[in-house]
């Protein structure tokens, strides 16, 4: 039986298109300070620090070196991850294993990105293999566009149904004081009329580029119980990868092999047999509107091909049976190095009862997912009950 681990505190910056008021170091400090305040701890109480960031999206490589005081790493064990979109959940999962192992008792995971300082689509294009993919790739936008057409063809999902997810995201974001894009009056028509970036992805279907940071503190059982009134226990973590190249997965979004594998493994671990009924809230990594609907299917919230119907029925609205992304999701806030860790933080806030105006009442079981690179997937399940 592994050592029980819980999330005891989180801290986020106000995410924005451009945080010109801070350097990347100061941005990180903002999140770290808030997390420590939330936990009522000081840096002395943190045994190790794990960092997640996507180099070179801001023209920084090795950002962890010169900003070390900012993230609290001085004279502590630390390591950095940069696994793409999943980096936030990679870092959270590593924090879980380090604490579960007994090597450290309290670990702080930090995700950060100052995207305004780089050229995101250009940088994302360097994810493409330089020999086989890069000369044709068109950033995340192009990638999601080609995947969306396959998905629409397979499932019959429409641009209008996808637009509903985009609307839900920006409206939910209005309840989240940290979110970047908050659009209280956005409509499906606004989305459909927005600039076509790459068919079928229109500007409002797509996530923004944000500056932001988040810090999450993990602790072993006895500390967690002592330090947090209602810790968010880690009930399951699972990671699954795709094959090497972007074109390897035959059905792309229509059949997300890695998400199916990781989620089923996590459900089994956590004893969940009917995710739609047994999950109270989900914070999923939806880069674009179409992806959200596809993820409903691949996560088993509905049958294959029914993602559009699920959102039509309002199941995933804040007031629905299974609220998805009450925080506004990735479509509202996307500092890539932080984004997946923000999913974890938001899921934890729900369990801890600290999600403010976006709180799902009585949330006892929450799901967080990370997505990145060539459809790599992380899944984390948090519960109010000790596992």
């Amino acid at each position: 039986m592994p050592r029980r681990v819980a999330i005891i505190a989180t801290g986020q910056t106000k995410h924005a298109a451009r945080r010109l008021d801070v350097t990347i170091a100061e941005l990180i400090t903002e999140a770290v300070t808030r997390a420590l305040e939330d936990a009522d701890l000081t840096l002395r109480d943190i045994d190790a620090v794990l960092l997640g960031n996507m180099e070179p999206f801001e023209g920084f490589l090795f950002p962890e070196l010169w900003a070390v005081e900012a993230w609290g790493g001085y004279l502590k064990p630390s390591v950095k991850f940069n696994t793409g979109g999943t980096v936030g959940t990679t870092t959270a999962i590593a924090a879980y294993y380090y604490v579960a192992s007994g090597i450290y008792d309290t670990v702080m995971a930090i995700g950060f990105q100052k995207q305004s300082e780089g050229h995101t689509q250009t940088a994302i294009t360097t994810v493409g293999d330089p020999i086989w993919e890069r000369s044709v790739m068109a950033g995340a936008i192009g990638n999601f566009a080609v995947m969306a057409t396959t998905y629409m063809h397979e499932s019959g999902v429409t641009e209008e149904q996808a637009a509903k997810a985009a609307v839900k995201a920006r409206r939910n974001a209005c309840l989240n004081e940290y979110a970047h894009l908050q659009m209280p009056d956005i409509t499906v028509e606004d989305v459909l009329k927005s600039e076509m970036l790459a068919y079928p992805v229109k500007r409002l279907d797509m996530c923004p580029q944000s500056d932001g940071a988040v810090a999450v503190i993990f602790a072993e059982e006895s500390k967690a119980v002592r330090l947090a009134p209602r810790p968010a226990w880690i009930a399951a973590v699972a990671t699954a990868h795709e094959q090497q190249y972007m074109g390897d997965s035959p059905k792309r979004l229509a059949e997300m092999r890695s998400l199916i594998a990781a989620s089923r493994r996590a459900y089994q671990y956590a004893g969940i047999t009917n995710p739609r009924r047994e999950l109270d809230v989900a914070e999923i990594y939806e880069v674009a509107s179409f992806a959200e609907l596809a993820m409903y299917e691949n996560l088993g919230f509905c049958a294959k091909g029914e993602g559009g119907k699920l959102i039509d029925a309002g199941v995933t609205e804040l007031t629905g049976e299974l609220p998805v992304n009450p925080s506004g999701g990735v479509m509202s806030t996307n500092p890539i190095g932080a984004t997946a860790l923000i999913r974890v933080a938001e899921a934890a806030l729900q369990i801890m009862g600290k999600a403010g105006r976006r709180q799902v009442e009585g949330a006892r079981t929450a799901l967080a997912t990370g997505y990145g690179g060539n459809a790599w997937t992380d899944v984390i399940i948090l519960t109010r009950e000790k596992p």
Binding site: G59, I131, W132, A138, H153, G247
Partner: protein
């Protein structure tokens, strides 16, 4: 944010060169492409999947891949788009000209798909399932660019 003009920022150009090894599998693929305008994949002895790009192992079976088979030059569109948003191409440092058609194409005989350009920029004329054919350059140098783009074929879709 007021006073944005007064914020000090340090400009920095990230410009560094790499020379990527194509590898043994890449060398075979690109040599065939350059010399014979032929596209090749490798077949897994266990599951029979044919991989393009070729690679040392089948990730699903973890078996070494040694059997080369010809694929294409025709194929089917698995997914597609027309890119309209301008961005800087990291290979050249220049803005890539838009619009351009771009698709995931499953070459005949292959189990995986390749990303490449389409010769079409009218969204109304492109569909999942349309048949396409590789158009090779006259002068080829042994890279993915030896394929100029894929041409949409008239006629029945798959």
């Amino acid at each position: 944010m007021s006073g944005e003009e007064k914020t000090l920022r340090v400009p920095f150009l990230l410009d560094t060169e790499y020379r990527y090894a194509v590898g043994q599998y890449g060398a075979r693929f690109f040599t065939e492409l350059r010399d014979h305008a032929r596209l090749m994949g490798v077949r897994c002895p266990e599951c029979g999947r044919v991989y393009v790009p070729p690679r040392p192992v089948c990730g699903i079976c973890y078996r070494e891949l040694h059997e080369w088979v010809e694929v294409g030059p025709e194929g089917t569109i698995v997914g597609w788009t027309v890119v309209r948003i301008p961005f800087i191409d990291p290979m050249t440092g220049e803005q890539r000209p838009v619009p351009y058609g771009f698709a995931i194409i499953r070459l005949d005989g292959a189990s995986t798909s390749l990303y490449h350009f389409l010769d079409e920029t009218d969204e109304r004329r492109i569909r999942v399932g349309r048949r396409v054919r590789a158009v090779f350059r006259e002068k080829r140098e042994g890279s993915l660019r030896d394929i100029l783009h894929f041409r949409l074929l008239e006629g029945e879709d798959e």
